[in-house]
């Protein structure tokens, strides 16, 4: 019973229960002061203050891009940005989340490019070529992506470089919200990554070969055999299956038993 009691006083799920004597700090949610325990993320501090998220909250793990946030410290002119779920709330932060920002995203057909990929980029996103090189996007990006640099690579037609440089993008839209050239960097980058993935990265020949085999129905028979077996027999096969060595070279390594490949 004592354990039960102990459990109940502890934090469960994502709800924060500060321990006795936790240090409280002032934060300003859209200008309004709240006292919250230190060490919380902005997201949890906002919830601690009593807000319930509908917008501006997603994976709570720094990958979905729902919780882009701008903030300043009282007395400091600099505008800062981060993801609310990844940034620690600190005293005298004035916080405003930006759960949505309108972006330019022209539709396109990946199967039908109008000319070379960089020509298609120019057709879809002419504004990319009007980048003034101010670097605000780079300073704004909560994922520490050098946004201005990948825009420069796009301008040069280096789509591979732009795809790789922009890969960590969570598409929160903060870059676009600050761009004086009115570029929607993150949607242009999405287009470029898909073009790179489809037309520039070399194709996996072994996948195409395996797809043909699957479509021929080759494996359905093998799988039916396994499905109709007694569980003990499947267990035996499971226990005895050969493990590919960790350092084996893909495409070269072959198991001893090749009947079921």
């Amino acid at each position: 019973m004592a354990e039960e009691k102990k459990l109940k006083t502890l934090a469960t799920g994502d709800k924060t229960i500060p321990p006795e004597g936790a240090k409280m700090i002032p934060i300003y949610i859209m200008g309004r002061e709240y006292m919250v325990p230190e060490t919380l993320t902005i997201m949890k501090a906002v919830e601690y203050a009593g807000y319930s998220y509908v917008r501006g909250c997603g994976c709570r793990g720094g990958i979905c891009g729902a919780c882009g946030t701008f903030y300043r410290y009282i007395g400091d002119y600099r505008l800062r940005s981060g993801l609310a779920c990844q940034t620690v709330a600190e005293p005298n932060m004035i916080i405003m989340q930006l759960p949505f920002f309108p972006a330019n995203r022209p539709g396109y057909d990946l199967e039908k490019m109008h000319g070379a990929p960089h020509e298609e980029l120019r057709r879809l996103y002419p504004e990319v070529f009007k980048c003034v090189g101010c670097g605000t996007c780079t300073r704004t990006c909560p994922m520490d992506i050098d946004v201005m640099d990948y825009i420069a690579l796009m301008k040069r037609g280096d789509l591979k470089g732009a795809a790789i440089k922009s890969f960590d993008c969570v598409m929160c839209g903060l870059c676009a919200s600050r761009c004086p050239a009115q570029i929607s960097q993150f949607t242009a980058a999405m287009f470029v990554r898909r073009v790179y993935g489809k037309y520039i990265l070399p194709k996996a020949a072994h996948v195409k070969k395996r797809v043909a085999e699957v479509r021929s129905g080759k494996y359905e028979k093998m799988l039916e055999e396994l499905m109709s077996m007694k569980q003990e027999d499947v267990k035996k096969l499971y226990v005895e299956r050969e493990r590919e060595p960790d350092l084996a070279e893909s495409g070269k390594w072959m198991p001893k038993e090749t009947k079921n490949l």
Binding site: D14, P18, G50, M171, V195, G197, A205, Y219, L223, L226
Partner: protein, 549 residues
């Protein structure tokens, strides 16, 4: 300086004091004894949330009456509808569509894309934004037998062995047979797979695999899959209409019991909308945000089991829903990393688990469920957990051992993402340990489906984490991203066939909801709540006490 508080920094000294001796022993290959098979069973029964009988109870209503479920899930299912059914005008549909997809994660988007290709008009209802789902959070990869030394046959063996032979064989066969098709589909859609210069896919092992078949895209494979699928769906927005922040709250059947649409609820304007559809796909994801028994979770904000609730009221059956995957090592400090998954690799490299006194209390590489039980036991029963400033408790994962065992720089080289995720908060995990506790990771079971994603209710299909049977009672890494796409696509395909051929257009009805409400009353359930809950409630008690409702 480290990002630990002075109290925690003081406790770390105890772990540091025992470290040289522990490293010495590890070098000699001596380790803490693993539990015997009998002890494993005892520990699991006593401490693992899946085995403990307290915190679980039998369902009192519906097609699976008598099924034992976690208290939180049972209560959610045995709740009343959010709808006043009489106030909903079913005579006038606000939206008419061929296919309604509920949920816009990987499974829902895959279903929408396939159905659109087959000529359907698709309406997608989603609670948050398009792509807000557990799909985006999957890091490690997606399995598929694409290499010459591998085949769906061996993938199947891995899946079914990993699931302790409790999987539905037909689902495991569908999963593994379609896997290469999925990898190919993603490649054609322009996904940036990790490849060799020749174009060959880079593949790795996962826990329980006999072949290297884990395909990846950096350490954000799920996010890359999701943004590619979403981008493609946006290119087809003439036929795929997306309604964000408008979750479904009840399914609509027709007078003959076929699925015929849903009632959606606009979270912002609080309006409801009636959707009439020829077929419906439920792809709403898992239940991590129910925080079963108070556990933290790795799941997305929207993972509240809405689809389970709605489909069950409509008469769908459930499978293995009592089975939950807890990952033994979720971060509990600092606060911003709570629930963050700490990969098994950390223990694979030699890091040990330690209690508040800096002592080992278990073998670090027990199976996931057993390892979780050991940690829970140490904290709850033995009382040697470490309490954090935000009132959580856990044990140390002694990562500094890794560099001592394998050489300076190993942590940074082998665990770059984890290193950065802690370094950001001034914690250098190559120098100081991490605080961990088991975290709720995956809903193993769900709505019962067949290999074509059919639920048994005409016109109702289901796919992804909300559905059950594919993984049995335990899922292997890299098979959930695969699952959402295989069964999402199959749902889209079969829903399209159905929508084209079945006799649809009957009178819309919510009678099943009224009947279910009555059944709850009849079962004597008092204080029934209201569900689906749609979003978790994290308002602290001091706020709640003052809220004017």
């Amino acid at each position: 300086m480290s990002g630990y508080t002075t109290v925690l920094a003081e406790l770390i000294k105890k772990a540091e004091a025992t470290r040289p001796a522990r490293v010495e022993k590890a070098r000699k290959g001596e380790h803490f004894p693993a539990l015997t098979m009998e002890q494993r069973q005892q520990w699991l029964k006593k401490y693992h949330p899946d085995y403990k009988s307290d915190g679980r109870r039998k369902l009192l209503v519906g097609p699976n009456k008598g099924m034992e479920l976690p208290e939180e899930v049972a209560s959610l299912i045995e709740s009343r509808s959010r709808l006043n059914t009489r106030a909903v005008d079913l005579k006038k549909a606000d939206y008419e569509t061929d296919l309604l997809v509920i949920g816009a994660g990987g499974a829902g988007t895959a279903a929408a894309l396939v159905a659109q290709e087959l000529g359907l008009k698709v309406l997608v209802s989603t609670k948050l934004r398009h792509g807000d789902s557990n799909t985006v959070m999957a890091e490690g990869g997606i399995q598929g037998a694409t290499q010459e030394g591998d085949s769906p046959y061996f993938h199947y063996l891995d899946v079914i062995g990993g699931g302790h032979f409790s999987n539905a064989p037909a689902l495991a066969a569908a999963l593994t047979n379609d896997a290469p098709l999925i990898i190919n589909w993603l490649e054609d859609l322009g996904m940036m797979f990790d490849k060799d210069p020749s174009g060959r896919m880079k593949v790795r092992h996962g826990g329980g695999t006999c072949r290297k078949r884990m395909h990846s895209s950096g350490d954000m494979t799920g996010a890359e899959i999701m943004r590619v699928l979403r981008d493609e769906a946006r290119n087809r927005d003439n036929d795929i209409k997306m309604l964000e922040f408008s979750p479904a709250v009840e399914l609509i059947l027709d007078s003959t019991g076929k699925a015929a649409g849903a009632v959606l609820y606009n979270l912002e304007t609080k309006e409801y909308y009636v959707v009439r559809a020829k077929a419906v796909v439920v792809a709403t994801g898992g239940f991590g945000r129910l925080h079963i028994q108070g556990f933290p979770t790795t799941n997305h904000y929207g993972a509240t089991a809405d689809g389970i609730v709605m489909a069950y009221r409509a008469g769908a059956r459930l499978k293995d829903l009592d089975s939950t995957q807890y990952h033994p090592t979720g971060a509990i400090f600092p606060e911003q990393n709570v629930g963050l998954l700490i990969t098994e690799k950390v223990r694979g490299l030699g890091a040990q688990l330690l209690n508040v006194d800096g002592e080992q209390f278990c073998f670090p590489l027990e199976p996931r469920d057993v390892e979780s039980a050991c940690v829970i036991r140490e904290c709850l029963d033995i009382g040697k957990g470490i309490v954090t400033p935000t009132g959580r408790f856990g044990v140390w994962l002694d990562s500094p051992m890794i560099d001592l065992l394998h050489g300076e720089g190993t942590v940074r080289k082998e665990l770059p993402a984890k290193y950065i995720q802690f370094k950001r908060y001034d914690i250098d995990i190559s120098k100081v340990p991490m605080l961990i506790y088991p975290t709720l990771h995956y809903q193993n079971g769900g709505i019962q489906i067949d290999e074509w994603s059919r639920t048994g209710i005409d016109g109702l299909f289901s796919a992804g984490e909300v559905a059950g049977g594919v993984h049995g009672r335990n899922r292997l890494m890299g098979n959930s991203l695969l699952d959402v796409l295989v069964f999402g696509r199959r749902a889209g395909l079969k829903a399209a066939e159905y929508a084209k051929s079945a006799k649809t257009g009957g009178t819309l009805s919510l009678k099943h909801v009224e009947d279910f409400n009555k059944e709850i009353e009849g079962a004597g359930i008092r204080n029934a709540g209201v569900s689906p809950i749609l979003l978790p409630d994290y308002a602290p008690d001091h706020v709640k006490a003052r809220q004017i409702v």
